[in-house]
Amino acid sequence: MKFSAVEKLIQNIRQDYQIFAPVKDDKEFFVSKISDLKQIDYSGRLPLNSWKHLFLPPGEELLEFSKKFRRPDSVYPRRCAWNMGFPDLKALGLLDVVFADDPYYQDRRRNILVCGLAVGEPDVENYAEHVKFSRRLAEDSLEHVTFDIFLEKTKKGTFDFFAGSVLGREVLSRNKIKNFTNVQFAGYIPEQGPDADMLSKQSLIKKSMKHRLWDELAEICLACGKCSLVCPTCFCFDTEDQAQEKTVSRQRVWGSCFYPEFTRLAGGTDYTATVKQKLQFWYEHKFVRIPAEYAMPGCVSCGRCAKVCPVGIDIAKNFVRLSEGSRGLPATITSRAGNS
């Protein structure tokens, strides 16, 4: 179908939903609330800030206390996440599973219409390098990700439509789009079993805790937490009580395992006191714990962490280093400035 059909669809969706989509801001792309549909980017570039704030806001009130603790009467606006890339849909699938029993997440999630976009090869920097690290995105199938509507931009510039849920089919039908492919969700775990690449990375991280790479990274890592901020699968959180005049608000706010006190006990013991421990904790979460618990990858190879790292730590390069043996080669980590 022509681009005009896509434009018409989003115009109609806007009648019922707030639209969030990638927008180019100077040189970079960000998920933004859309006022002008012409702003929306269709290049397939992954927005730098990921989409997680739509599903898991940076701060939300879990409970309010006046005479007793009660859940506030929150209103979750109807929102449409438009043009989510494949890695971000995979990350969303993980969040859906991790927060399956979380009433706040689920109530918000129910009101979000998820629309994906694929544009041939993902447009990321250093694509050749990225693909070595990535999970063969092209081979991944729509059957194993969560979405309502999916658009695939063909080489000719036309669009193919897919529906992945009852809601997606309804929205397309309401818009008189009949020429779409229905995709039956087949679970997050492929038919042949858990992702082999995920399992090999899991065992590599488990056996590489003594690798010298960690000391080298700890030398340069600032523990600034930017990687965890942009990571679509970093869902750690803190709970904080904020005292108001007459009430108390118990909030869930984004946390980062790079920040002080993340694992510190009241008595002072801190299990991630050093930068090396923090780095290992982050890698263990993505590559050991998440696969162990959900049989799903904890990293969707979006490359955002490498892109924002102020000292040029590149997750893909780190895996190359770790796979080179238990002792590792001399440090070859260069800064981004050095690369460009």
């Binding site: 879990l62 409970l63 206390f65 007793k68 603790f69 859940r71 991790v98 927060f99 029993d101 979380d102 009433p103 689920q106 488990k206 869902f235 750690c236 959180f237 803190d238 709970t239 904080e240 009580d241 005292a243 108390v248 118990r250 869930r252 946390g255 395992c257 993340f262 694992t263 510190r264 006990l265 009241a266 008595g267 013991t269 299990y271 904790f281 263990e284 979460h285 050991v288 714990r289 162990a292 618990e293």
Partner: protein
């Protein structure tokens, strides 16, 4: 959907100043139906909190057989929340999510039926409920030996229970590592001076036993070495770990170790399951 973050109000039935920095709170849910249905397994914990102060994990230290009437937590004053909790009195309210986590293994599943329980400092709190449990008959059928190390006499917890425990067949030994004891016996229990590992030299250590440990990381290291020297297999040693449990659901990551969550998979682990992560 059940809200797992919803704490329930409990009333403080009594507060006992157990040591200069530790108080024992006996608690009862305001909702009597909830209290009548309340059950925990020894070694499980509770998230205890106050509005404005957040919540923190505490081992449930009472006997699980009394759970439908009340439950107890012993709280040592170390931070902001515990300071606020220490200001509370009988009749006051606090807020609890419990029970959480996985406690000590049932004695039914242990391959070695005798027990050696080793507690260091406030780690002894995590063993209290299991000691109460085995004092109800188990210690007559099987040998139960308890090594309890703390800094000095003033820090000794649960003294008033020692005579009952002894009568039930439990063999308890105390040892202090900061100040030499002024008395030879506390409530009929002999007191030594030195590190807890010294008891492995001076006492006849129970054999064909499973070991339950709770204490600071350094205690684990040296006690496990002693146990291994005596032929304890890694799969016969259980540890209760202290971490910064927050959500209690295995999501927020504050208590993660390796591929596990202390709040959900623990706090009690078999040593061979976690030894790579300690």
């Amino acid at each position: 959907m059940i809200n797992p973050y919803q704490p329930l109000p409990v009333k403080i039935l009594s507060v006992i100043q157990e040591t200069p920095d530790t108080k024992i709170f006996r608690l009862k849910f305001l909702d009597s139906v909830k209290q009548k249905q309340f059950y925990f397994w020894q070694g499980q914990f509770a998230q205890v909190g106050l509005p404005g102060q957040g919540e923190a994990p505490f081992d449930i230290s009472s006997n699980s057989h009394d759970s439908t009437a009340y439950f107890e937590v012993a709280i040592r004053q170390v931070g902001r929340l515990t300071q606020a909790l220490h200001h509370l009195h009988k009749g006051d309210r606090l807020y609890v999510r419990a029970p959480l986590g996985k406690g000590w293994p049932s004695t039914d599943v242990l391959s070695q039926k005798n027990l050696l329980l080793v507690g260091g400092g406030c780690g002894f709190l995590a063993l209290k409920s299991v000691i109460e449990e085995v004092s109800l008959g188990y210690a007559k059928k099987h040998q139960v030996q308890v090594f309890y190390g703390c800094s000095d006499e003033a820090q000794v917890l649960f003294k008033e229970r020692y005579q009952d425990w002894q009568k039930s067949g439990i063999k308890l030994k105390l040892i202090f590592d900061k100040k030499e004891p002024t008395k030879k016996y506390i409530q009929g229990i002999s007191c030594g001076y030195g590190l807890i590992t010294k008891l492995f030299e001076t006492e006849k250590v129970v054999t064909h036993a499973s070991a339950f440990l709770c204490g600071p990381p350094v205690m684990f290291k040296f006690v496990i070495k002693k146990l291994q020297e005596r032929g304890f297999k890694d799969s016969e040693i259980y540890l209760s770990l202290e971490r910064r449990m927050s959500c209690g659901l295995g999501v927020c990551q504050h208590c993660a170790i390796g591929d596990k969550y202390v709040c959900k998979d623990g706090p009690v682990f078999r040593y061979d399951e976690v030894k790579d992560y300690l």
